[in-house]
């Protein structure tokens, strides 16, 4: 049994979960929020660790979502994981935020899991694109998290009988409004905000057996917005022959 600290700040929630080796119990705290993760996360970790009765120097490992997420959100979680790992030379296991959401959906589906071949978590990534990941009904990765065009994501949505959720899921409906997979229920209702946001306690399902990450870098899935400066003022100046040459 391990003492494990898990947390997530990738999207519109901030959550912490601690597994205590001594009691076998899990202590969690979670708050839905669009901004402010950087202020909330560390005090939340402090409270949860205290409530769980686990001291930092007794931790065996850290579990964290490394992305995709907001760039800042993914970095806040990873920076905290890096700090805790550095502080006590702890291994860190990383998870995709979308996989974390898929596991919540699987738990919520209960007996209905048998109706589906997998879970598709789709997150609206703006600019006609979605972050997409598909897991099996045990919550293990089938299609690795990716940033796809809405058109490509629709293809994925129709590849299997999938339960779809997340802010990007409505974008995957066909032009006739038909929903992907064999889903017959109305899924905005199936995917209330609370379920479509990651919850760190789902990382604890297999954090003890997962292989620790080698490189602790966020999974951005998107390049930074930066274009090499094209408008170099007076660039032509240097191209002109020197007057006395």
């Amino acid at each position: 049994m391990m003492n494990i600290l898990a947390f997530d700040t990738c999207f519109d929630a901030c959550s912490v979960a601690v597994h205590s080796a001594e009691t076998g119990g899990i202590t969690t705290e979670r708050e839905l929020m669009r901004r402010g993760h950087a202020e909330v996360l560390l005090p939340m970790i402090e409270r949860t660790m205290k409530a769980a009765g686990v001291a930092f120097d007794r931790l065996d490992r850290i579990a964290v979502t490394h992305g995709p997420g907001t760039f800042t959100g993914a970095r806040v979680g990873m920076s905290a994981a890096l700090g805790a790992s550095f502080a006590h030379a702890l291994p860190v296991v990383t998870y995709s935020s979308l996989q974390c959401v898929a596991r919540a959906a699987i738990e919520a589906l209960g007996d209905e899991v048998t109706h589906f071949e997998g879970v598709l978590v789709a997150r609206d990534a703006k600019r006609d694109s979605v972050f997409v990941e598909v897991t099996d009904m045990a919550g293990d990765e089938l299609d690795a998290p990716a940033l796809l065009s809405v058109a490509d994501a629709r293809q994925v949505a129709r590849s299997r009988r999938l339960f779809a959720l997340g802010s990007g899921a409505p974008l995957l409906a066909g032009d006739d409004g038909a929903q992907p997979g064999g889903l017959t229920t109305d899924w905005p209702a199936q995917s209330p905000l609370g379920i479509a946001e990651p919850d760190a306690r789902f990382l604890l399902q297999d954090a003890a057996s997962r292989t620790p990450a080698q490189a602790l870098v966020p999974l951005y899935l998107r390049a930074p917005d930066a274009t090499p400066s094209s408008r170099l003022p007076l660039a032509r100046l240097v191209n002109l022959p020197a007057a006395d040459a």
Partner: protein, 385 residues
């Protein structure tokens, strides 16, 4: 699964603060990620107020920003998180110490680029929590302001001239945690003016050293550039107009040759020096009146532009004429580094109560003197309030 009741509101970490100034020596870890340098250092402060740098590891990212002709915030944030842990390990190793021996963790919380600040601050918070050490959130400007205490054992009061890529200001440092900003730039920071001038003349990035090298054999009198705000009663700075004047003159001189570039940059530096000296002279006079001591009030110069030799000698010459010392901390400690953050943390720690706990926010803008009226202007880091 049990859920922890949110009633267990954690007391803010600042409660660790003691009421009395501390008497023992303190070891402080400092983390700096506000712009394009990832830096971690370990500094020791002795009860007599003297300090020693045990390690000071700095990794510059400017190669990553070079293709963009300036610092790209998202690239900076990504570069910080990739190396912060390695830099911190190296700092501890070089200092031959470990976290359990550290008394306090200091991290820059602003002003600066928010994405990068969050990496260093969150990393530091996490270490502080994991080792139950106090965290002190440092104002980057305060760190610049206090560096001479570490490097030259200079204690307040003194007049600080801070000239960097993001800031240009004069500050009366009355004491640790007691600052009065006298003048500030109304547009570009001085380092920014150097960088933009270099860009106009295609001299490369970062521009300061390139401009200085180009100016070496130039005639500082060939072009009569404006001396911004010279003679004005408000002690502020302005460099945007000067940069524009350089651009216009450069355009007029086309086709341009090396000598013209040398003369343009030398004339630019001459104008910068005249303007800065005029502004510092006024600020110094105001500072002396304010503290009411006719005694020599030292002038301390910090920030990357303090490396500029022409500016340095102009400031030294001016200080001699009014018979006050001019102090320049070593240039490696004038630009962004972790030692100055650790030192500012040590100074705060030594005084007892600490501001800033685990819920501290990073701040893109954070004037050193919160009571100073904002000065609206634009710059690399946005308006400098």
């Amino acid at each position: 699964m049990t859920s922890s009741a949110p009633i267990i509101q954690s007391p803010k970490t600042e409660c660790k603060a003691e009421r009395q100034p501390r008497k023992a020596a303190a070891l402080v870890l400092g983390v700096e990620t506000s712009c394009d340098e990832t830096a971690v250092a370990v500094v020791k402060r002795l009860p007599d107020g003297s300090g020693a740098i045990l390690s000071n590891v700095v990794r510059s990212q400017w190669e990553q920003h070079r293709p963009f002709g300036g610092v790209v915030p998202e690239i900076a944030a990504r570069a910080h998180i990739e190396c912060i842990s390695d830099i911190a390990s190296e700092a501890l190793k070089t200092a031959n110490t470990q976290l359990t021996d550290i008394d306090c963790i200091a991290a820059t919380a602003g002003p600066g680029l928010i994405g990068g600040l969050l990496v260093g601050l969150t990393f530091a918070k996490s270490i502080a929590l994991a080792h139950d050490k106090p965290l002190v959130a440092i104002n980057h400007l305060e760190a610049h302001a206090l560096t001479v205490g570490l490097t030259d054992s200079i204690r307040p009061p003194y007049l600080l001239l801070l000239v960097s890529g993001g800031h240009t200001q004069t500050v009366l440092v009355r004491d640790v945690a007691d600052y009065h900003r006298i003048g500030s730039t109304i547009d570009d920071a001085l380092g920014e003016a150097f960088d933009k001038t270099a860009k106009i003349l295609s001299l490369g990035f970062p521009g300061g050293p390139a401009v200085e090298a180009a100016a070496l054999n130039g005639d500082p009198q060939r072009f009569a550039f404006p001396r911004p705000l010279q003679g004005r009663k408000e002690p502020h700075f302005s460099f945007a107009g000067l940069k524009t004047a350089v651009r216009r003159e450069a355009e007029r001189q086309q086709p341009i040759n090396d000598q013209t570039i040398a003369d343009l940059t030398a004339s630019f530096e001459a104008a910068v020096c005249d303007s800065v000296i005029d502004r510092v002279k006024l600020a110094h006079r105001m500072a002396v009146v304010e503290i009411g001591e006719p005694d020599a009030l030292p002038i301390v110069v910090s920030g990357g532009v303090a490396a500029n030799k022409r500016l340095r000698s102009a400031l030294e010459k001016f200080a001699t004429t009014i018979d006050v010392p001019a102090i320049f901390p070593p240039i490696s400690l004038c630009t962004d580094n972790g030692a100055m953050i650790a030192w500012a943390g040590a100074e705060r720690f030594a005084r007892g109560p600490l501001a800033g706990g685990l819920d501290t926010s990073a701040r893109a803008r954070w004037p050193l003197d919160e009571s100073a009226a904002p000065i609206i202007g634009t710059g690399k880091h946005g308006p400098k309030a």
